[in-house]
Symmetry: C2
Protein backbone atom coordinates (compact mmCIF):
# COMPACT_ATOMS: atom_id res chain seq x y z
CA UNK A 1 0.00 0.00 0.00
CA UNK A 2 2.76 2.41 0.86
CA UNK A 3 3.97 4.15 -2.26
CA UNK A 4 7.65 4.77 -2.95
CA UNK A 5 9.47 6.12 0.04
CA UNK A 6 9.93 9.84 -0.14
CA UNK A 7 13.55 10.90 -0.75
CA UNK A 8 15.16 12.77 2.10
CA UNK A 9 14.82 16.56 1.83
CA UNK A 10 17.83 18.75 1.09
CA UNK A 11 19.61 20.54 3.88
CA UNK A 12 17.47 23.68 4.21
CA UNK A 13 14.25 22.12 2.94
CA UNK A 14 12.83 20.54 6.05
CA UNK A 15 9.67 22.58 5.76
CA UNK A 16 8.80 20.91 2.48
CA UNK A 17 7.73 17.86 4.46
CA UNK A 18 5.56 20.03 6.66
CA UNK A 19 3.64 21.24 3.63
CA UNK A 20 3.29 17.72 2.24
CA UNK A 21 1.98 16.50 5.59
CA UNK A 22 -0.61 19.27 5.74
CA UNK A 23 -1.71 18.49 2.21
CA UNK A 24 -2.01 14.74 2.75
CA UNK A 25 -3.80 15.23 6.05
CA UNK A 26 -6.30 17.56 4.42
CA UNK A 27 -7.01 15.13 1.61
CA UNK A 28 -7.39 12.19 3.97
CA UNK A 29 -9.67 14.15 6.25
CA UNK A 30 -11.95 15.07 3.38
CA UNK A 31 -11.84 11.52 2.04
CA UNK A 32 -12.51 9.59 5.26
CA UNK A 33 -14.98 12.14 6.54
CA UNK A 34 -14.02 11.60 10.15
CA UNK A 35 -11.17 13.02 12.14
CA UNK A 36 -10.74 9.82 14.13
CA UNK A 37 -10.57 7.74 10.98
CA UNK A 38 -7.44 9.59 9.89
CA UNK A 39 -4.40 8.33 11.76
CA UNK A 40 -0.88 9.65 12.02
CA UNK A 41 0.25 6.39 10.48
CA UNK A 42 -1.98 6.86 7.43
CA UNK A 43 -0.75 10.38 6.91
CA UNK A 44 2.87 9.31 7.22
CA UNK A 45 2.22 6.51 4.80
CA UNK A 46 0.58 8.82 2.28
CA UNK A 47 3.56 11.13 2.40
CA UNK A 48 6.03 8.27 2.17
CA UNK A 49 7.63 8.71 5.57
CA UNK A 50 7.54 7.03 8.99
CA UNK A 51 5.12 8.14 11.71
CA UNK A 52 7.64 9.77 14.07
CA UNK A 53 8.67 12.17 11.31
CA UNK A 54 5.31 13.84 11.66
CA UNK A 55 6.31 14.86 15.16
CA UNK A 56 9.31 16.77 13.84
CA UNK A 57 6.84 19.25 12.37
CA UNK A 58 3.77 19.10 14.64
CA UNK A 59 3.76 18.55 18.39
CA UNK A 60 0.73 16.27 18.29
CA UNK A 61 -2.16 15.12 16.16
CA UNK A 62 -4.60 17.74 17.37
CA UNK A 63 -2.25 20.54 16.37
CA UNK A 64 -1.81 18.99 12.93
CA UNK A 65 -5.54 18.72 12.34
CA UNK A 66 -5.95 22.23 13.65
CA UNK A 67 -3.34 23.48 11.20
CA UNK A 68 -5.13 21.79 8.31
CA UNK A 69 -8.36 23.44 9.31
CA UNK A 70 -6.76 26.82 9.83
CA UNK A 71 -5.84 26.64 6.13
CA UNK A 72 -9.40 25.74 5.20
CA UNK A 73 -10.67 28.48 7.46
CA UNK A 74 -8.62 31.01 5.51
CA UNK A 75 -10.17 29.74 2.27
CA UNK A 76 -13.56 29.99 3.94
CA UNK A 77 -12.95 33.63 4.82
CA UNK A 78 -11.81 34.36 1.28
CA UNK A 79 -14.88 32.67 -0.18
CA UNK A 80 -17.18 34.82 1.94
CA UNK A 81 -15.30 38.00 1.10
CA UNK A 82 -15.44 37.18 -2.59
CA UNK A 83 -19.17 36.46 -2.45
CA UNK A 84 -19.84 39.71 -0.62
CA UNK A 85 -17.69 41.78 -2.94
CA UNK A 86 -19.96 41.37 -5.95
CA UNK A 87 -23.18 42.26 -4.16
CA UNK A 88 -24.95 45.49 -5.08
CA UNK A 89 -25.65 46.73 -1.56
CA UNK A 90 -24.68 45.92 2.05
CA UNK A 91 -27.76 43.88 2.78
CA UNK A 92 -27.42 41.86 -0.40
CA UNK A 93 -23.82 41.33 0.65
CA UNK A 94 -25.01 39.81 3.90
CA UNK A 95 -27.27 37.47 1.96
CA UNK A 96 -24.38 36.48 -0.28
CA UNK A 97 -22.26 35.79 2.79
CA UNK A 98 -24.94 33.53 4.20
CA UNK A 99 -25.24 31.57 0.98
CA UNK A 100 -21.48 31.21 0.70
CA UNK A 101 -21.29 30.13 4.33
CA UNK A 102 -23.73 27.29 3.82
CA UNK A 103 -22.14 26.27 0.53
CA UNK A 104 -18.73 26.03 2.14
CA UNK A 105 -19.99 23.96 5.03
CA UNK A 106 -21.73 21.48 2.77
CA UNK A 107 -18.74 21.29 0.42
CA UNK A 108 -16.25 20.60 3.22
CA UNK A 109 -18.30 18.94 5.94
CA UNK A 110 -15.46 17.32 7.82
CA UNK A 111 -13.32 20.45 7.82
CA UNK A 112 -16.37 22.43 8.85
CA UNK A 113 -16.88 19.99 11.67
CA UNK A 114 -13.35 20.46 12.97
CA UNK A 115 -13.49 24.22 12.63
CA UNK A 116 -16.87 24.87 14.19
CA UNK A 117 -18.13 21.72 15.84
CA UNK A 118 -15.31 20.38 17.95
CA UNK A 119 -14.48 21.92 21.24
CA UNK A 120 -11.62 24.44 21.17
CA UNK A 121 -9.99 25.63 24.35
CA UNK A 122 -8.16 28.57 22.81
CA UNK A 123 -9.40 31.86 24.24
CA UNK A 124 -9.86 35.07 22.29
CA UNK A 125 -10.64 38.63 23.15
CA UNK A 126 -12.93 41.03 21.41
CA UNK A 127 -9.97 43.14 20.33
CA UNK A 128 -8.53 40.20 18.36
CA UNK A 129 -11.61 39.82 16.19
CA UNK A 130 -10.68 42.22 13.42
CA UNK A 131 -10.28 41.81 9.65
CA UNK A 132 -6.50 41.75 10.14
CA UNK A 133 -6.53 39.45 13.14
CA UNK A 134 -3.92 36.80 13.77
CA UNK A 135 -6.04 33.76 12.98
CA UNK A 136 -8.31 33.08 10.03
CA UNK A 137 -11.18 32.70 12.47
CA UNK A 138 -10.61 36.13 13.95
CA UNK A 139 -10.40 37.64 10.48
CA UNK A 140 -13.56 35.93 9.31
CA UNK A 141 -15.53 37.13 12.31
CA UNK A 142 -14.02 40.59 11.94
CA UNK A 143 -15.20 40.68 8.36
CA UNK A 144 -18.69 39.68 9.43
CA UNK A 145 -18.95 42.39 12.06
CA UNK A 146 -17.69 44.87 9.50
CA UNK A 147 -20.33 43.73 7.01
CA UNK A 148 -23.09 43.97 9.59
CA UNK A 149 -21.92 47.43 10.60
CA UNK A 150 -22.08 48.42 6.94
CA UNK A 151 -25.65 47.18 6.73
CA UNK A 152 -26.63 49.04 9.87
CA UNK A 153 -25.07 52.20 8.52
CA UNK A 154 -26.94 51.71 5.26
CA UNK A 155 -30.16 51.92 7.18
CA UNK A 156 -30.92 48.43 8.41
CA UNK A 157 -33.45 49.12 11.08
CA UNK A 158 -32.72 46.51 13.68
CA UNK A 159 -30.83 46.63 16.94
CA UNK A 160 -27.80 48.67 16.03
CA UNK A 161 -25.36 46.47 17.93
CA UNK A 162 -23.26 44.90 15.18
CA UNK A 163 -21.69 42.39 17.56
CA UNK A 164 -24.96 40.95 18.80
CA UNK A 165 -26.41 40.92 15.30
CA UNK A 166 -23.30 39.21 13.98
CA UNK A 167 -23.54 36.50 16.58
CA UNK A 168 -27.21 35.94 15.83
CA UNK A 169 -26.48 35.63 12.11
CA UNK A 170 -23.57 33.31 12.73
CA UNK A 171 -25.64 31.13 15.04
CA UNK A 172 -28.46 30.85 12.50
CA UNK A 173 -26.35 29.75 9.57
CA UNK A 174 -24.12 27.62 11.71
CA UNK A 175 -27.15 25.92 13.18
CA UNK A 176 -28.44 25.09 9.74
CA UNK A 177 -25.15 23.78 8.41
CA UNK A 178 -24.42 21.90 11.59
CA UNK A 179 -27.73 20.07 11.56
CA UNK A 180 -27.53 19.27 7.85
CA UNK A 181 -24.06 17.86 8.31
CA UNK A 182 -24.86 15.88 11.45
CA UNK A 183 -28.25 14.49 10.51
CA UNK A 184 -28.09 13.52 6.85
CA UNK A 185 -30.89 11.03 7.40
CA UNK A 186 -33.41 13.65 8.55
CA UNK A 187 -36.16 14.35 6.01
CA UNK A 188 -34.87 17.82 5.19
CA UNK A 189 -36.71 20.01 2.75
CA UNK A 190 -34.51 21.12 -0.18
CA UNK A 191 -31.44 22.94 1.09
CA UNK A 192 -31.96 26.09 -0.99
CA UNK A 193 -35.37 26.58 0.56
CA UNK A 194 -33.87 26.22 4.04
CA UNK A 195 -31.18 28.74 3.24
CA UNK A 196 -33.81 31.07 1.88
CA UNK A 197 -35.92 30.68 5.00
CA UNK A 198 -33.03 31.55 7.29
CA UNK A 199 -31.97 34.43 5.05
CA UNK A 200 -35.44 35.85 5.11
CA UNK A 201 -35.90 35.54 8.83
CA UNK A 202 -32.50 36.89 9.71
CA UNK A 203 -31.64 39.33 6.99
CA UNK A 204 -34.84 40.66 5.55
CA UNK A 205 -35.60 41.66 9.11
CA UNK A 206 -32.68 44.04 8.74
CA UNK A 207 -33.86 45.68 5.55
CA UNK A 208 -35.16 49.22 6.05
CA UNK A 209 -38.93 49.29 6.41
CA UNK A 210 -40.35 51.34 3.54
Amino acid sequence: MSPARRPRARRGDGDLLRAEILDAAGRLLAEKGDENAVSIRMIADAVGVTPPSIYLHFPDKDTLIEAVCEQRFAEFDEALEKAAASAPDPIAALRARGEAYVAFGLDHPEHYRVIFMTRHERTMELGDLTPDGATAGARAFGHLVEAVAGAVEAGASVTPDPLATSIALWASFHGLVSLLVSEPGFPWPPVPSLVEAVLNLQIEGLRPRT
Copy 2:
Protein backbone atom coordinates in the same frame (compact mmCIF):
# COMPACT_ATOMS: atom_id res chain seq x y z
CA MET B 1 -8.42 1.96 41.33
CA SER B 2 -10.96 -0.71 40.53
CA PRO B 3 -13.53 -0.95 43.29
CA ALA B 4 -14.77 -4.27 44.59
CA ARG B 5 -15.70 -6.68 41.88
CA ARG B 6 -19.39 -6.76 41.25
CA PRO B 7 -21.06 -10.00 42.36
CA ARG B 8 -22.44 -12.09 39.58
CA ALA B 9 -26.12 -11.42 38.83
CA ARG B 10 -28.78 -14.00 39.55
CA ARG B 11 -30.16 -16.20 36.83
CA GLY B 12 -32.81 -13.98 35.36
CA ASP B 13 -31.19 -10.69 36.28
CA GLY B 14 -28.78 -10.18 33.43
CA ASP B 15 -30.41 -6.90 32.50
CA LEU B 16 -29.37 -5.38 35.80
CA LEU B 17 -25.84 -5.13 34.45
CA ARG B 18 -27.12 -3.41 31.35
CA ALA B 19 -28.71 -0.70 33.45
CA GLU B 20 -25.57 -0.30 35.55
CA ILE B 21 -23.46 0.04 32.40
CA LEU B 22 -25.74 2.71 31.00
CA ASP B 23 -25.62 4.59 34.27
CA ALA B 24 -21.83 4.44 34.62
CA ALA B 25 -21.32 5.38 30.98
CA GLY B 26 -23.57 8.40 31.37
CA ARG B 27 -21.76 9.58 34.47
CA LEU B 28 -18.33 9.10 32.90
CA LEU B 29 -19.41 10.90 29.75
CA ALA B 30 -20.60 13.89 31.73
CA GLU B 31 -17.49 13.81 33.89
CA LYS B 32 -14.83 13.48 31.19
CA GLY B 33 -16.65 15.76 28.79
CA ASP B 34 -15.47 13.89 25.74
CA GLU B 35 -16.81 10.77 24.15
CA ASN B 36 -13.34 9.58 23.15
CA ALA B 37 -12.05 10.03 26.68
CA VAL B 38 -14.52 7.43 27.93
CA SER B 39 -13.33 3.94 27.16
CA ILE B 40 -15.03 0.59 27.37
CA ARG B 41 -12.37 -0.41 29.87
CA MET B 42 -13.18 2.53 32.12
CA ILE B 43 -16.88 1.80 32.03
CA ALA B 44 -16.29 -1.87 32.81
CA ASP B 45 -14.00 -0.86 35.65
CA ALA B 46 -16.57 1.54 37.09
CA VAL B 47 -19.20 -1.18 37.08
CA GLY B 48 -16.81 -3.74 38.54
CA VAL B 49 -16.73 -6.07 35.60
CA THR B 50 -14.34 -7.00 32.77
CA PRO B 51 -14.49 -5.28 29.35
CA PRO B 52 -15.90 -8.20 27.34
CA SER B 53 -18.95 -8.25 29.60
CA ILE B 54 -20.02 -4.97 28.06
CA TYR B 55 -20.40 -6.76 24.76
CA LEU B 56 -22.94 -9.12 26.24
CA HIS B 57 -25.31 -6.16 26.43
CA PHE B 58 -24.25 -3.79 23.65
CA PRO B 59 -22.88 -4.75 20.24
CA ASP B 60 -20.28 -1.99 20.22
CA LYS B 61 -19.23 1.23 21.86
CA ASP B 62 -21.16 3.50 19.52
CA THR B 63 -24.40 1.71 20.30
CA LEU B 64 -23.73 2.03 24.01
CA ILE B 65 -23.07 5.77 23.79
CA GLU B 66 -26.12 6.13 21.60
CA ALA B 67 -28.23 4.34 24.19
CA VAL B 68 -26.97 6.65 26.93
CA CYS B 69 -27.90 9.66 24.86
CA GLU B 70 -31.27 8.29 23.88
CA GLN B 71 -32.05 8.31 27.61
CA ARG B 72 -30.88 11.90 27.93
CA PHE B 73 -32.84 12.80 24.82
CA ALA B 74 -36.00 11.55 26.48
CA GLU B 75 -35.27 13.73 29.53
CA PHE B 76 -34.66 16.62 27.12
CA ASP B 77 -38.05 16.13 25.53
CA GLU B 78 -39.70 15.98 28.94
CA ALA B 79 -37.95 19.17 30.06
CA LEU B 80 -39.22 21.03 27.02
CA GLU B 81 -42.74 19.71 27.45
CA LYS B 82 -42.75 20.70 31.08
CA ALA B 83 -41.48 24.19 30.32
CA ALA B 84 -44.11 24.69 27.64
CA ALA B 85 -46.93 23.37 29.78
CA SER B 86 -46.88 26.26 32.23
CA ALA B 87 -46.85 29.02 29.60
CA PRO B 88 -49.93 31.23 29.31
CA ASP B 89 -50.24 31.15 25.51
CA PRO B 90 -48.81 29.25 22.54
CA ILE B 91 -46.22 31.87 21.67
CA ALA B 92 -45.02 32.15 25.24
CA ALA B 93 -44.81 28.37 25.17
CA LEU B 94 -42.45 28.58 22.22
CA ARG B 95 -40.30 31.02 24.13
CA ALA B 96 -40.26 28.70 27.12
CA ARG B 97 -39.23 25.85 24.87
CA GLY B 98 -36.35 27.86 23.52
CA GLU B 99 -35.10 28.77 26.95
CA ALA B 100 -35.39 25.18 28.15
CA TYR B 101 -33.59 24.00 25.03
CA VAL B 102 -30.58 26.20 25.68
CA ALA B 103 -30.56 25.40 29.38
CA PHE B 104 -30.49 21.69 28.68
CA GLY B 105 -27.65 22.01 26.18
CA LEU B 106 -25.50 24.02 28.55
CA ASP B 107 -26.27 21.71 31.47
CA HIS B 108 -25.37 18.56 29.57
CA PRO B 109 -22.86 19.71 26.95
CA GLU B 110 -21.30 16.36 26.20
CA HIS B 111 -24.64 14.57 25.91
CA TYR B 112 -25.87 17.42 23.76
CA ARG B 113 -22.82 16.98 21.59
CA VAL B 114 -23.49 13.32 21.04
CA ILE B 115 -27.19 13.85 20.41
CA PHE B 116 -26.99 16.79 18.02
CA MET B 117 -23.41 17.31 16.96
CA THR B 118 -22.04 13.96 15.92
CA ARG B 119 -22.93 12.47 12.60
CA HIS B 120 -25.79 9.97 12.67
CA GLU B 121 -26.48 7.72 9.74
CA ARG B 122 -29.93 6.60 10.84
CA THR B 123 -32.59 7.75 8.42
CA MET B 124 -36.05 8.96 9.35
CA GLU B 125 -39.17 9.81 7.48
CA LEU B 126 -41.55 12.67 8.02
CA GLY B 127 -44.24 10.27 9.17
CA ASP B 128 -42.06 9.12 12.07
CA LEU B 129 -41.73 12.58 13.55
CA THR B 130 -44.79 12.60 15.77
CA PRO B 131 -45.29 13.12 19.51
CA ASP B 132 -45.66 9.35 19.90
CA GLY B 133 -42.78 8.42 17.62
CA ALA B 134 -40.47 5.50 18.27
CA THR B 135 -37.39 7.46 19.30
CA ALA B 136 -37.04 10.32 21.75
CA GLY B 137 -35.73 12.46 18.90
CA ALA B 138 -38.80 11.84 16.81
CA ARG B 139 -41.06 12.64 19.76
CA ALA B 140 -39.19 15.85 20.58
CA PHE B 141 -39.41 17.09 17.02
CA GLY B 142 -43.04 16.06 16.83
CA HIS B 143 -43.76 18.09 19.94
CA LEU B 144 -42.02 21.08 18.41
CA VAL B 145 -44.03 20.93 15.19
CA GLU B 146 -47.17 20.59 17.26
CA ALA B 147 -46.23 23.64 19.32
CA VAL B 148 -45.49 25.68 16.22
CA ALA B 149 -48.77 24.63 14.67
CA GLY B 150 -50.49 25.79 17.84
CA ALA B 151 -48.82 29.17 17.59
CA VAL B 152 -49.78 29.52 13.94
CA GLU B 153 -53.36 28.62 14.75
CA ALA B 154 -53.31 31.19 17.56
CA GLY B 155 -52.61 33.83 15.00
CA ALA B 156 -48.87 33.95 14.56
CA SER B 157 -48.55 35.84 11.36
CA VAL B 158 -45.59 34.25 9.67
CA THR B 159 -45.29 31.62 6.95
CA PRO B 160 -47.90 29.10 8.00
CA ASP B 161 -45.71 26.07 7.25
CA PRO B 162 -45.11 24.56 10.69
CA LEU B 163 -42.43 22.22 9.41
CA ALA B 164 -40.27 24.94 7.89
CA THR B 165 -40.79 27.19 10.88
CA SER B 166 -39.90 24.37 13.23
CA ILE B 167 -36.67 23.71 11.39
CA ALA B 168 -35.76 27.39 11.44
CA LEU B 169 -36.40 27.59 15.18
CA TRP B 170 -34.46 24.42 15.82
CA ALA B 171 -31.53 25.63 13.73
CA SER B 172 -31.40 28.95 15.57
CA PHE B 173 -31.31 27.54 19.07
CA HIS B 174 -29.12 24.67 18.07
CA GLY B 175 -26.69 27.07 16.45
CA LEU B 176 -26.47 29.09 19.61
CA VAL B 177 -25.98 26.11 21.92
CA SER B 178 -23.58 24.47 19.54
CA LEU B 179 -21.33 27.50 19.30
CA LEU B 180 -21.41 28.15 23.04
CA VAL B 181 -20.45 24.56 23.72
CA SER B 182 -17.74 24.38 21.07
CA GLU B 183 -16.09 27.75 21.57
CA PRO B 184 -16.01 28.42 25.29
CA GLY B 185 -13.05 30.77 24.76
CA PHE B 186 -14.96 33.14 22.49
CA PRO B 187 -15.79 36.50 24.10
CA TRP B 188 -19.49 35.77 24.28
CA PRO B 189 -21.88 38.36 25.63
CA PRO B 190 -23.89 37.06 28.61
CA VAL B 191 -25.82 33.95 27.63
CA PRO B 192 -29.25 35.25 28.70
CA SER B 193 -28.86 38.20 26.36
CA LEU B 194 -27.99 35.85 23.51
CA VAL B 195 -30.99 33.70 24.23
CA GLU B 196 -33.16 36.78 24.38
CA ALA B 197 -31.79 38.00 21.05
CA VAL B 198 -32.56 34.72 19.32
CA LEU B 199 -35.97 34.53 20.96
CA ASN B 200 -36.83 38.00 19.79
CA LEU B 201 -35.66 37.49 16.26
CA GLN B 202 -37.26 34.10 15.85
CA ILE B 203 -40.33 34.15 17.99
CA GLU B 204 -41.46 37.72 18.36
CA GLY B 205 -41.51 37.71 14.58
CA LEU B 206 -44.32 35.19 14.95
CA ARG B 207 -46.45 37.25 17.30
CA PRO B 208 -49.56 38.70 15.66
CA ARG B 209 -48.99 42.29 14.50
CA THR B 210 -51.37 44.54 16.39
